[in-house]
């Protein structure tokens, strides 16, 4: 049983990367101090804990820092090894989870960011196609990983890839709301649509996923998100 103060997480509530660490800690029922470190400015503590990137999340375990969200998730899985497993034990299944998590981070989330920043109908349409195309690929991956009808990429329980992708659901919903469209479509990606509901309702997740309205207001203030004019008939 961890003593209070042994585990600290430096975070910022809108960050999907911080959400990943919090979900992992919740899965393992780890008691931790959550310290909001909204950036900018970069605090002394954050600068000392993550001198290379100066970014949250940072997990401090006995004051030793661990940085980069998916590396933090793996550390949590390996250190608190007696709790429910986040990564599977089979090397091939682990490689598949890592592959799709890297795809989500390197390709899919970037396409979501491009959508958020795109200006003009043509650019927006192209960005939407990319996001939806990625979701179709992820739907296929979900069918394979969840092994015939299980709720999560990890099977019966939330795993590494669930955390990697699920942490972006808040921002996905914000983009849907701001653009008056559906990106995660029950008709085209039924598996993912159902998965998203199960994920957000999970005990380890619901207390750390931000409310969409709050996230939308944050996006407007921080990134200048503007609602587009409603399409005219």
């Amino acid at each position: 049983m961890e003593e209070k103060g042994e585990v600290k997480l430096l975070g910022d509530w809108p960050s999907p990367f911080v959400i990943r660490a919090r979900i992992a800690l919740n899965i393992k029922s780890v008691d931790y101090d959550y310290i909001e470190q909204p950036v900018p400015p970069v605090s002394e503590l954050l600068l000392k804990s993550n001198p290379v990137y100066k970014k949250i999340p940072v997990l401090l375990h006995h004051d030793k820092p661990i940085c980069e969200s998916l590396i933090i998730v793996q550390y949590i899985d390996e250190f608190w090894s007696s709790g429910p497993s986040i990564l599977p034990s089979d090397p091939y299944e682990r490689a598949i989870q890592h592959f799709w998590a890297a795809y989500v981070d390197d390709q899919w989330f970037r396409s979501l960011c491009r959508l958020a920043k795109s200006k003009g109908e043509e650019a927006k349409a192209a960005a939407i196609e990319q996001v939806k195309g990625g979701l179709l690929l992820l739907e296929e991956a979900f069918e394979k990983c969840s092994k015939l009808g299980k709720a999560f990429f990890g099977g019966d329980e939330i795993g590494y890839l669930d955390i990697a992708l699920g942490s972006y659901l808040g921002w996905l919903r914000v983009n849907e709301k701001m653009n008056y469209l559906k990106l995660l479509d029950e008709a085209k990606t039924p598996g993912l649509a159902a998965w998203a509901h199960s994920f957000c309702a999970h005990n380890a997740v619901k207390s750390v996923m931000p409310e969409i309205d709050r996230l939308t207001e944050f996006a407007k203030a921080r990134y200048g998100y503007q609602e587009p004019t409603l399409p005219t008939k």
Partner: protein
């Protein structure tokens, strides 16, 4: 059970070199298949439909893609010898952090050094040397990033030693003058057959990268002409 291990590869790819080194460290026998990147094989397109890139490790018919994911897989499967990660969770996290840092930075910034010129190249050189110096600091007095054996950081980084001649020639600077400890580390790595047999000759790489640069400049020129004609 007979293991079938095939590596779809390209001789000058630093990412392919990472996998070669990992397999060699573990003493795994495999069949290497050289891909023509201008005419990718049906096998490559089938085994890596998402990225269509090498390296791809095909182990008993099942593909594993993305070089550092393949390296981790190799370490997990052949876990009875030459560990590429320590057993302590904190040290593992630390090694993963630095391997990820190499992955995020060195290829993209290094490429700008040999492919671009002027202000872009100058900025890239400065940034690359900054990265190398940070890695030198992380290495410290150790023989390798893994201590007395290679770990995933060594495996991630040492393939870029094959770029050093090209970087210096194209960028007109001396890496050994700026980062002597890093060059000494690379030479220690090269004393291991797993590394020396996995890295191509630096001059051969230089002529290849020059060719890629020529093609890149020609493409840019053609694009500019097309824009001006509009």
């Amino acid at each position: 059970m007979a293991e079938e291990v095939i590596l779809l590869d390209f001789w000058s790819s630093p990412f392919g070199m990472r996998v070669r080194i990992a397999l060699a460290e573990k003493g795994v026998e495999y069949e290497e298949r050289e891909e023509n990147l201008n005419n990718k094989s049906p096998l490559l397109l089938k085994m890596n439909p998402v990225h269509k890139q090498i390296p791809v490790l095909i182990h008993n018919g099942r593909p594993v893609c993305e070089s550092m994911i393949i390296v981790q897989y190799i370490d997990d499967v052949w876990n009875d010898r030459a560990p590429l990660l320590p057993s302590d969770p904190y040290q593992r996290a630390d090694a993963r952090f630095w391997a990820d840092y190499v992955d995020k930075k060195i290829y993209n910034i290094g490429k700008l050094v040999w492919i671009s010129e002027g202000a872009v190249q100058k900025a890239a050189k400065r940034e690359l040397l900054g990265c190398f110096k940070l890695l030198e600091k992380e290495l410290g007095d150790k023989c390798f990033f893994g201590g007395d054996r290679l770990n995933i950081v060594d495996v991630a980084l040492v393939p870029f030693y094959s770029w050093f001649y090209a970087l210096e020639a194209c960028g007109n600077f001396s890496i050994v003058a700026e980062c002597p400890h890093l060059v000494a580390w690379a030479k220690r790595c090269m004393e291991r057959p797993s590394v020396s047999k996995s890295l191509p000759d630096q001059y051969k790489v230089y002529t290849h990268l020059l060719e890629l640069r020529r093609e890149h400049v020609a493409r840019l020129g053609a694009q500019l002409q097309a824009q001006q004609a509009q």
